[in-house]
Symmetry: D2
Subunit: 142 residues, 4 copies
């Protein structure tokens, strides 16, 4: 009866986090998860800096990409990123705590669109990420 | 006469690499640098995997973003990413060696556009990245 | 004292609409304009269809791009699109009335980011557009 | 035996052009078509101008989007745009003749990626477009 088993968003997240080595490295702390939704935060550490001494754009992308992947997999079907666009709005420094919020804006049979925003402690927008995901027919299982 | 001093692309790269902690963590090896151009490679290690056991999209983005930043700063003016779009075409596994090539497609007074492609050892396209950079008036200095 | 003259968002819109031949062709009706904001609607006519008999993606982009340009110029400085990403979520047919809403998500000294969403009469998302604008120092004048 | 019938790229183009009302309005002239490839040109007319008197960004997008759609449908399966990113590099004026070239960079089972560049008569890049297409299982038929 494997096909009737339905995982909750929290169970899917737990399965993914257990294997997601890079999200561990980033120190991501998920603070809210629900169908099509994920909110997390993390702190900018020394290894995350770029050649100008600010946070590397890849770190901002990566944290948003993880929130996106967690949100889009909550429905229980393996879902992968196809295409992402990200805009950067202000520099981020060592020690800042960033909050990332991913929201589902559309969910079709085969694709989904997610809006992911990263803000600093003052609530200012640091990056804005729009992701298109492809929904496979493979169920995520325990 | 500081304003007449002109750094070569290799000198700019050296300055940036010395501070770029995250590119070090990624293990990026720059194999070619020239005005508006950068080619590098890196190997996918265990800490780079996502919840499905493939390379995390953030890693692919980050390596491309570094190549982009190295290429767009070769002209000697501090240049930062404004907006990036990335498409993912095939999964990448632990141990694969990826090559990233960044090419300048346009360089205006204030902005530049870069096409960055990541390929696997078979030469297959793994991700395609288009980045818009903003050129500041601040010269990069030793 | 030309530099002290400040146009309202409605005045800027009026100046732009008077010259914007393609927005006229599209039949765009602006129903709300404010600082960093624009809402408009239009009807899909026969000349807007593509090779599959649905609305051409270029039409969806164009209406969103106009709303984006109207919103980002409301501050009175000539502002132009640098980079846009658009996602398409469902087909649109002849005769449908679409609503386009552009919101400013960030406004820096030199750049601004706008989120533009197009919905059909059922309120369903048809396309999602994220635009990065470059703010020039040229004031818009009567 | 309808399923064995295979259309050439030119035949697919002919079928699409016959219905594509907006590409007709744009005055697009296809000058080369092949598997995964399309090259076309068009002239900027008065109705294509925006509020600043330059070509409307939607026109640049639309011509590139048509070239993209023509290129991605050449394989004979109905293929639609999912996600597009476009960068604008220089203004275009009334009367300019633009050339648009769409190339397939990746073709998977379900998706394809296309690089579409628009240049002016001097060969200067005017816009750069990266499109992700979704390949349906529906064959295009005469």
């Amino acid at each position: 009866m494997a096909q009737h088993q339905e995982l909750t968003p929290s169970q899917v997240l737990e399965i993914m986090l257990a294997k997601d080595k890079f999200s561990s490295w980033l120190g991501l702390k998920v603070i809210d998860i629900a169908a099509g939704y994920c909110k997390l935060h993390f702190t900018v550490v020394y290894e995350m800096l770029n050649g100008f001494g600010y946070v590397h754009g890849g770190i901002l992308f990566s944290a948003a990409d993880s929130a996106f992947e967690f949100a889009c997999n909550t429905h229980g079907y393996a879902t992968v990123a196809l295409d992402v666009s990200v805009s950067f709005t202000r520099p981020v420094r060592l020690g800042e705590v960033l909050t990332v919020e991913a929201k589902e804006e559309h969910r079709g049979e085969k694709t989904g669109i997610y809006d992911v925003r990263t803000t600093n402690e003052k609530g200012e927008l640091v990056s804005m990420f729009k992701g298109m995901a492809y929904v496979t027919s493979k169920q995520i299982a325990l």
